[in-house]
């Protein structure tokens, strides 16, 4: 079981209400710095962090892990980005 530093990036319902296919979020990740994260919505919701593309619930996995990063959606529809500790 991999332990991550999870950062709340956006809320799925709020993103849906904007009605756009993509939106850039500028977030100050404490301990990392200010980062621009692109959230896109196609068949699934995805986040682009740096050069890593993370898709929510890909392969029915929540959290979905890729390399040393992860993406997770909780019961409040908040989407979190997992970074290595």
């Amino acid at each position: 079981m991999t332990v991550y530093n999870w950062y709340k990036i956006f809320n799925k319902d709020e993103f849906d209400s904007v009605g756009l296919v993509s939106k850039e979020y500028e977030v100050n990740l404490v301990g990392v710095g200010v980062k621009s994260i692109l959230v896109t919505k196609g068949f699934r919701y995805s986040m682009v962090y740096g050069d890593v593309f993370l898709t929510l619930k890909l392969g029915n996995k929540n959290p979905f892990e890729f390399g040393s990063h992860a993406i997770y959606i909780d019961s409040f529809n908040d989407v979190w980005l997992g970074l290595p500790t």
Binding site: T2, E26, N28, D74, W80
Partner: protein, 186 residues
């Protein structure tokens, strides 16, 4: 004159004293710096007889940028509009060494020194085309070899410079350590 009425330009400048009195009056409760104060307005009539400036044409245009974004639910596209500028362009001819031309050159040069802190404004009045508290967008003069007239183009923009700089604060995300958020260390 343009169509029988002379347009008028009014230049307003703010001056601030550069003396810092803090070191002199440290123990006396007075203002340490003198704030800016307005100088008397400087009017300039664009009239061939008064100031030697003959107005050829005057235009006013407003530019707006329109962006449309589609969305996957096939609703109506979202339309976002952004104002680009609102400009008044005055083209006129000036006699070489006319009072108006000399004054206009000096005032525009003075504006250049005040550009970085927005301590100036220009008002333009001519019938239904008015601009109060505007900014200099561009100023150009062309002289050719055929005569001794200057062809002058003056563009004024609507809007005031913001006196404070607004900075966008990024949303802060605190880290939550764990296998999944909400369940620490598990």
């Amino acid at each position: 004159m343009l169509n029988g009425i002379s347009p008028i330009l009014i230049f307003d400048f703010l001056e601030g004293a550069s003396v810092d009195l803090g070191s002199v009056f440290n123990k006396i409760p007075v203002l340490k710096t003198i704030p800016t104060f307005p100088l008397p307005s400087i009017p300039l009539y664009l009239d061939e007889q008064l100031t030697g400036l003959y107005v050829d044409s005057q235009t006013k245009n407003i530019d707006v940028e329109t962006e449309m974004s589609t969305n996957p639910a096939e609703k109506n596209p979202i339309v976002i509009q952004k104002a680009i500028n609102s400009l008044i362009t005055v083209n006129f001819k000036a006699v070489q060494n006319s009072v108006g031309m000399i004054l206009l050159n000096l005032l525009c040069d003075k504006i250049l020194s005040g550009l970085l802190n927005g301590k100036y404004s220009i008002t333009y009045l001519h019938t239904n085309v008015t601009l109060f508290g505007g900014l200099l967008h561009s100023f150009s003069t062309v002289q050719n070899s055929e005569n001794d007239l200057f062809n002058v183009s003056l563009q004024l923009s609507r809007g005031k410079v913001n006196s404070t700089v607004q900075t966008l604060v990024a949303k802060i995300a605190q880290p939550f350590n764990g296998v999944i958020p909400g369940v620490p260390g598990q």
